[in-house]
Symmetry: C2
Subunit: 202 residues, 2 copies
DNA sequence: CGAAAACTTGCGCGGCGCGCAAAAAGATGT
DNA sequence: ACATCTTTTTGCGCGCCGCGCAAGTTTTCG
């Protein structure tokens, strides 16, 4: 009668999420430097020491939410019809990664627009976020490789995956800074559309 | 009798460089976690406290070398003939940023091939290096904006600058991991050449 | 030369990340 | 149901980091 998996693993996943969300929430509320690991742990009902069993830094706990997207995007990319043009598949997979949410909302709603910047002005956060994005790129790279059969050690696929990652960052940055930006999904489609035309000739 | 600039600024620049190089050298020799701030400071003939006046972390001191490239690339980009196609100008500017070295070598020679990876397996280093690359992108973005007249707040130029940054990372990563890689400059030209053709249609 | 400005240094504090070993909690066999 | 094994949580302690502060020291400039 086991619900798919052992109780153990479920609990782990649970506290991991709890910690991650608590870290995000508190950071948004008070700012990164005004949140102690202790606070996060307490908010998740766990000891401070345990926090570091899950994440090796405050920043990592926060960025983990973004890193997860990599897996979702990769999965979606592999699930797409094999005869679909690669760029289209990538575009849709990425969009899906930002809209398709498991359980909760993932596409950051308007309420986040104002809060997210607060997080990103902490240097440590920036670095960790970029690291997470690198992880996303790695996942995408693997998926591209699996899909096309091109060895992931080649320069070209790396370039491709890197471009995708950069596009994601550019979109998020734009969404973050623009006056009254369109939804992320829309921006993503626009970005990938622009990229599809290659760099400017002039 | 001032040699261009005040003595003060020259000294500052000097210790900054000394600290940065010392940090790199020691990290390469012993590994990031086995280097104390104290050691770096000592190697540069300065107090530990002073180190943190220049850099706010060990990682930053190391990544600073990469961040500097941004300025050089941007300068080169602006110095190029205005009627040159943008993508060509960017390519050459980036290449110049990796080959043109002020005083010392900048294009990492073969001796670095084996050492650089040692640095990058420290999480903190990775994050900081990506941050430095983001700074490089920002410089490039500004230069692109200045050159084309397109507002840097627009999505498109951000996308462009981001792509350039991603290409640099991809190249370095490839150079780092490949068996017996060509010089960086060559890889860069190859990468930008590939990007010039846009994403794959299939 | 003497006052002002900029930089360096020592000291101390709060916090972090982790190794370690004991306790607690889930899993497993009979 | 119980005893046992495995995995996770927890408390404690250590070394290090990054920074505020308040002297000292050095450069600049009138």
């Amino acid at each position: 009668m086991a619900t798919e998996k052992g109780l153990r693993e479920r609990k782990k996943e649970q506290t991991r999420e709890a910690l991650s969300w608590a870290a995000i929430r508190l950071t948004v509320e008070r700012g990164f430097d005004n949140v102690l690991v202790e606070d996060i742990a307490a908010a998740a009902g766990v000891s401070a020491r345990t926090f570091n069993n899950y994440f090796s830094s405050k920043a990592e706990a926060i960025a983990a939410r973004h890193a997860d997207r990599g897996r979702r995007i990769a999965a979606e990319l592999l699930a797409r019809p094999a005869d679909e043009p690669l760029w289209t598949a990538i575009t849709e997979a990425v969009v899906a990664g930002f809209t398709g949410a498991p359980g909760g909302q993932t596409d950051p709603g308007p309420q986040w627009r104002k809060q997210v910047p607060i997080m990103l002005d902490s240097p440590a956060l920036q670095g960790e976020f970029l690291r997470a994005n690198a992880a996303v790129e790695a996942d995408i790279l693997a998926a591209i490789s699996a899909r096309t059969g091109i060895d992931s050690g080649q320069l070209y696929p790396k370039l491709l995956a890197g471009t995708v990652g950069a596009a994601i960052l550019a979109v998020l940055d734009h969404w973050r800074q623009a006056e009254d930006p369109p939804p992320v999904a829309e921006l993503l489609r626009e970005a990938f559309g622009l990229l599809a035309q290659g760099p400017p000739t002039r």
